[in-house]
Amino acid sequence: MRYDQHVLPNGLTIVGEYNEDAQSVAIGFFTRTGSRDETPELSGVSHFLEHMMFKGSERRSAEEVDLEFDAMGARYNAFTSEENTVYYGAVLPEFQERLIDLLADMLRPSLRQDDFDTEKKVILEEIAMYKDRPQFTVYILARETYHHGHPLGNSVLGSTESITALQRDQMMDYFRRRYAPNNMVVTLTGKYDWNAAVAQIEQTCGGWAQGDSSRTVTEPDALPLERMQPDPKRDRVYLCAVAPAPSAQDDARYAAEVLAEVLGGGEGSRLYWALVHPGIADSADMSYSEQDGAGAFFVSATCDPERTTEVIDLLRSTLATAQNDGMSDDEIARARRKLASALVLRAETPMGRLVTVGFDYVYRRRIEPLAETVDKLLAVATDDVDALLRPKPFDKLTLVGYGPLAEAS
């Protein structure tokens, strides 16, 4: 592995992790913008705009964008979160230049009115699709409840109402503010030609004008809330709980990964033994989510409606026991090992590294070599995890339930 970095005069940063043994190159344009950067009347605009980027520029129609991706045999997509929007593709190395040309061109979109109107229907379909997915519904409710007014609780998709009301000119204005080169990072992983990439990006994107795309970063005021949202149409109960965790800029994030793995990293975790192994709930997981200035632990579980109270009690007591009594060295060692192994396996492919490398730079302005991340994970000690538990984060657990709760005892 080799690490590369270059900053253009307009602030656009290009970073790379080169892998001689790879057979493909993955390229992503990372923009530091998402639903947390939206005002209520713009709710959902980041994600809708992400769709619109595929609808063409001055140089290309929507059809020509799709045709160009497919002519390269690219694996490609884009995603929007609360704080990042990422456009990416993986191709054989011979197509590096064409992929950069296409992604860079897409990110100066025309936002034509007829494309806007048609794509609005697709967004409304996507919102309808997620309404049929209760795991997603409860996650959104939990985010909103936990953040109670903090922008990290904003919905990425927006609502049927906000999307219906959104106008093309509002989107264009948002685009101009947020897609400034000083708010973007281009990431390459795999077998790339660095000098060619830098020269091409400089030529294509060097003229993009800087802008003020700042973001106010505050910590949410975590509170021990509980919210039960009945929906008689559901057959099962979906639980999601949120607690404060280290931010993406905090070195304690490695310990946070280990903590979440011990408690809820699937089979072999404490929540698994307490809830899934005995058949009380059919899933119970926990994950750590790094975010700009404020991280969070997410716990989720699914169960029969009649067992809701029992599952909530077990979930809470599992977290409380960890918080009061700490964790054993053995558990910590196993969790470290699982996480390190997962990281190495994901790194087999350029695509598997792209988002990790890109977010490294977006959040921390530094690419951490894979070997260093592995070492840091393997160095997490029981004391480091204890230090996270000492302020009692689970005393501020926000818990949300969704499903046929009238039947719950």
């Binding site: 043994d21 790879a22 057979q23 493909s24 595929f54 929507a62 059809e63 964008v65 799709d66 045709l67 991706f69 497919d70 002519a71 390269m72 045999g73 690219a74 694996r75 490609y76 191709v91 048609t118 794509e119 697709v122 409304l124 379909e125 996507e126 309808a128 699709m129 309404k131 049929d132 997915r133 209760p134 149409k233 559901r234 057959d235 099962r236 699937g266 089979e267 072999g268 005995p278 058949g279 009380i280 709930a281 059919d282 699914t302 169960c303 029969d304 053995d330 196993r334 969790a335 090992r337 699982k338 390190a340 192994s341 997962a342 190495v344 396996l345 087999e348 492919t349 350029p350 695509m351």
Partner: protein, 414 residues
């Protein structure tokens, strides 16, 4: 560059296949046993699912917790699950620990404790998975579509049936494990930073003295006439699924069919995405893809749309599925070819993807396909040969299933 794949046949019928990827420190494996829902004992639909869960509740010298800890100590990323024709137990980890991991999986497959005290817990998980179906309309749609398309054992849900799961007692579970977890017809694939000869030795030592064969899997029998059925459910989107006959992986025309499917549903420029989503905004998700069984192939297609647009959506979808028989363009063929081959090259970078793809090939056609073989077959297809094939083999006998607040009209079903 890809190294040659090596195949070793053990005397007991287990085939061992190894793809060395010398630049990687990681390795992945798949142990495939022909124990799927199609061979669940009569009246015990869901048996393979129960066995699959129970084998992890202790094996060899270890109880459930010791086994789980041993896997985690090795950093094994666990995978696998129950399908219609087989169950897979798979994992990925650092290559240095492969031997220790395979020793644990030999215990899991051959010497599970199947503790009677834990059967009800495992059953509770299986029942909850079935209970979840109404809350996952797309999953429910495909479970029901299989029932519509395959009147016999291939239509059974891999999740099982509530009343039949409740009937499986501990003796039945033990008997089923003894009958179906057998090396005959099984496959062990390994891909990654490993020496093929060394893997053969390990496999011989861990699995060589295992003897027996599972009951044969019946030949899949599909419905052979057009069919439409609607399931009433108050969903936000109407779920649309279409199944129709296609080719098996060892059919000489398979790659014609595969390329045609890429024209229909490869990337965003493919026909379904363009016509159903890009031009009309009818869906977020639409696709068609191959579903391969041993001795039978079909195409599965899906679209999800809000009820007021379901009629337009299915009209456009079926229209596109039919229209392929009128032929594709040179550009479409070129994109389909490039897309298929690029996806294969990228699959070749991942140990897990390779171990899984080789296991599937072994089961379906008895040997792994190399990248060169597929490239040769795909390059041999011309626009003329593809369009001739499509003209002679129009999509036909659609089995259509919708799920949502209201049915649709199927205007003309071939």
């Amino acid at each position: 560059m890809p190294q040659p794949i090596q195949t070793f046949q053990l005397d007991n019928g287990l085939t061992v296949v190894v793809e060395p990827m010398p630049h990687l420190r990681s390795a992945a494996f798949t142990l495939l046993l022909p124990a799927g829902s199609a061979t669940d004992p009569d009246g015990q639909s869901g048996a393979a699912q129960l066995v699959n869960g129970m084998v992890y509740r202790g094996a060899g010298e270890r109880d459930a917790r010791a086994l789980s800890n041993a896997l985690d100590d090795l950093g094994v990323q666990r995978g696998g699950g129950v399908g219609v024709e087989y169950t897979t137990h798979s994992g990925a980890l650092l290559a240095d620990d492969l031997e220790a991991a395979l020793a644990l999986y030999a215990d899991i497959a051959r010497r599970p404790l199947l503790p009677e005290a834990e059967l009800d817990a495992e059953r509770a998980l299986a029942l909850q998975a079935i209970q979840s179906l109404n809350d996952n309309p797309t999953q429910r749609l495909f479970v029901e579509l299989a029932k519509v398309y395959f009147p016999g054992p291939f239509g059974r849900s891999t999740l099982g049936e509530v009343d039949e799961l409740q009937r499986i007692d501990h003796a039945a579970l033990q008997a089923d494990h003894a009958a179906r977890y057998q090396p005959g017809g099984g496959v062990l694939t390994v891909a990654g930073g490993v020496e093929p000869e060394r893997v053969r030795e390990i496999a011989e030592r861990l699995f060589g003295d295992w003897q027996g064969s599972p009951p044969p899997t019946p030949q899949p029998q599909a419905r052979t006439e057009p069919h439409y059925q609607h399931l009433q459910q108050a969903t936000n989107q109407t779920q649309i699924a279409v199944a129709y006959p296609s080719l098996t992986l060892d059919d000489p025309d398979y790659y014609h069919e595969r390329l045609a499917l890429n024209v229909l549903s490869g990337g965003m420029a493919s026909r379904l995405f363009t016509e159903v989503r890009t031009k009309r905004g009818l869906v977020y998700s639409v696709f068609a893809g191959p579903r391969l069984y041993k001795g039978l192939g079909l195409v599965l297609s899906y679209a999800g749309t809000q009820p007021e647009r379901a009629q337009e959506c299915i009209d456009v979808l079926l229209g596109e599925l039919r229209r392929v028989s009128e032929g594709v363009t040179e550009d479409e063929l070129a994109r389909a070819r490039t897309g298929l081959l690029a996806a294969l090259v990228m699959q070749g970078e991942s140990t897990g993807a390779r171990a899984s793809a080789m296991a599937s090939d072994l089961f379906l056609i008895g040997r792994p396909r190399s990248l060169d073989e597929i490239r040769g077959a795909v390059d041999a297809i011309t626009l003329d040969s593809l369009n001739r094939y499509l003209r002679q083999h129009p999509a036909h006998d659609f089995a259509v299933l919708t799920l949502g607040p209201a049915p649709v009209e199927i205007t003309s079903n071939v």
